[in-house]
């Protein structure tokens, strides 16, 4: 069966006792796209994902995956999804191939089909040479590849990836991104959580920014950035310059081309319409109010600007 909507979530809410993990969550995912849930740790991304893969019942609201209700038709949902968990959900005492053979039985694949598909998947994720080694000898990147192969084994319509590159080195991360793009080429729908801005920006067709259990904004990375309007100037002054910085902040209000400015510590974050005109004007104003500037950073809007604009605070990426 095909569907014009891959996932539909309406007013989803999950509470644990008095703690609300997510609320008022509504979004749709279209077939064939990479949909990202971007947010800091504890924002509610994993909770959302776990509800969608039927292992956590929602407190309120509805979610349909490939047309099936995640609570009432959980078994049907499980037939069309693949899941790549966040933790290294690997059994150290099994080989890579044995992981896939186990899952093949759990998805009730006939033996011959299972063997063919396992070989194909091992080839896809470059694990052929290591397939018969115990997983405890695998590197982080290899485990992640095995995770992905496991998620793909049921030949799913939708793959859910929970933080697919968390803690991986740059090289492995790029490989994983390639695999994910390859899956989209094959027509799969992909839902992933991430707390890497660059990953969301590079990989996702559309994303929802989640913070404090709510969706703050949704759209393609490009839309989100353009919708912000203007470019961002970050102007940093010496710590001794508190007062001049205040004067400059006030002076900026009278300048044209400036959309808004925020004071953060010794920094002014300024969104400007036309940087080529705004920049000289700002420098001139700084000169006029006698404010010594340490550095100026200018960039096109980035996702962290989008995050800041919609949540009111800066995005904290996990430290490696």
């Amino acid at each position: 069966m095909s569907s014009s909507i891959a996932i539909e979530v309406v007013d989803l809410e999950k509470t644990y006792g008095t703690v609300t993990a997510i609320q008022d969550l509504s979004f749709t995912v279209l077939p064939g796209e990479i949909f990202g849930l971007l947010g800091p740790n504890g924002a509610g991304k994993s909770t959302t994902l776990r509800i969608l893969i039927t292992i956590l019942p929602p407190t309120r609201g509805q979610a349909r995956v490939w047309g099936y209700d995640v609570v009432k038709e959980a078994d049907a949902v499980r037939q069309v999804i693949g899941y790549v968990p966040q933790e290294r959900a690997i059994d150290r005492f099994l080989t890579g191939r044995e992981h896939l053979l186990l899952l093949a039985d759990l998805y009730h694949l006939p033996k011959r089909e299972a063997l063919n598909r396992i070989n194909e998947l091992l080839k896809l994720v470059d694990l052929e040479a290591h397939a018969d080694r115990l997983a405890k000898t695998y590197s982080g990147g290899m485990k992640r590849k095995l995770d992905i192969a496991c998620g793909l084994l049921p030949n799913p319509r939708i793959v859910f990836l929970d933080e697919p590159t968390l803690g991986l080195d740059v090289q492995s991360r790029l490989r994983i991104w390639d695999y994910i793009r390859e899956l989209r080429r094959r027509g799969l729908t992909i839902v992933m959580t991430t707390n890497y801005l660059e990953e969301a920006d590079q990989l996702c067709d559309r994303l929802a920014i989640i913070d404090g259990g709510r969706i703050r904004v949704m759209g393609s990375p490009k839309e989100l950035k353009t919708a912000l309007g203007g470019d961002t100037l970050c102007l940093r002054a010496d710590p001794s310059q508190t007062e001049p910085l205040d004067r400059l902040h006030a002076a900026l209000k009278t300048l044209p081309f400036i959309r808004d400015s925020r004071r953060q510590g010794y920094e002014l974050l300024i969104r400007v319409d036309a940087p080529d005109k705004a920049l000289p004007a700002i420098l001139e104003a700084a000169h006029r109010v006698n404010c010594h500037i340490e550095s100026i950073d200018y960039h096109r809007p980035r996702l962290d600007d989008v995050f800041l604009a919609y949540t009111g605070h800066r995005f904290q990426e996990p430290t490696q």
Partner: protein, 259 residues
């Protein structure tokens, strides 16, 4: 139905693979009860044991029933531990996101624990045989011992799995395990007959299902069918109640954890 069989066999195979690759752990699992309890303890107390009290010349033939049931106890109470690790590292979530019968995981665990326990019991009885212990009721008696042992294991494994699904960390799990296991042994007739226990310990031992299991297995080894049959029937009745309670609690814990 054939799906369920496919699932259970695959999951059981995984447990066996895991054990067979943890060579050290496997060695200890298999060897510990007979080495520590049967051989060391049995020979150590051979001379100290009062033959009148123990109704046998050979303390080891008295102890054999206790060691068999201790093995069932330890295997049963540890039966949930792999599920706990699966829960902690996310493997359980992976399993739960597949279209399997939720019960297949539980059933596979049971199959595995039962299989290992049966093997161990047979090893223990074989070792005991070489120390001169011959079950009076013969091979049929050994079969009955296995059945009673398995029935006791059902309830114990249910307790263990319920704990695995309920505890916050595996530290808690092992604390409770350690707290349960030794008192269960000392407050039963595993090491000495009920008549030789201090009155208050004997009173507690009467409420320990383990006592009744031992009291059924011991005459199968020591005395013969006539003495054993009433004890076996009593044990079966008690185990029926014990298992029902444990399975009910286990099912509730499982449902709460898995939804």
């Amino acid at each position: 139905m054939s799906h369920a069989v496919q699932e259970v066999l695959a999951l059981t195979q995984r447990w066996i693979r895991r054990l067979s690759r943890e060579k050290f752990s496997m060695l200890f699992t298999l060897v510990q009860p007979m080495l520590f309890w049967l051989i060391f303890f049995g020979n150590l107390f051979q001379r100290a044991a009062n033959t009148q009290l123990f109704q046998t010349e050979n303390y080891m033939s008295f102890l054999a029933a206790g060691v068999v049931v201790m093995t069932v106890l330890n295997n049963g109470l540890a039966g949930g531990v792999d599920l706990l690790f699966d829960k902690e590292n996310g493997f359980l979530e992976r399993l739960m996101s597949t279209p399997i019968h939720r019960a297949s995981i539980i059933v596979s665990r049971y199959l595995f624990v039962m299989l290992i326990t049966c093997l161990q019991i047979l090893v223990i009885l074989t070792v005991a045989f070489f120390f001169g212990v011959t079950p009076e009721t013969g091979l049929a008696g050994v079969a009955v011992i296995l059945v009673i042992g398995m029935l006791f294991g059902v309830g114990l494994t249910a307790i263990s799995m319920a704990m695995a699904f309920s505890v916050k960390s595996h530290g808690d799990f092992f604390s409770v395990l350690g707290f349960l296991s030794l008192p269960m042994i000392f407050l039963s007739s595993a090491l000495v007959p009920l008549t030789a226990m201090p009155a208050w310990m004997r009173a507690v031992a009467y409420f320990n299902p383990m006592t009744w299991v031992i009291e059924a297995i011991r005459p199968l080894i020591l005395s013969g069918w006539a003495a054993a049959i009433p004890q076996v029937l009593t044990a079966l009745a008690i185990l029926l109640v014990f298992d029902a309670i444990c399975l009910y609690g286990g099912a509730r814990a499982f449902r709460r954890a898995i939804g």
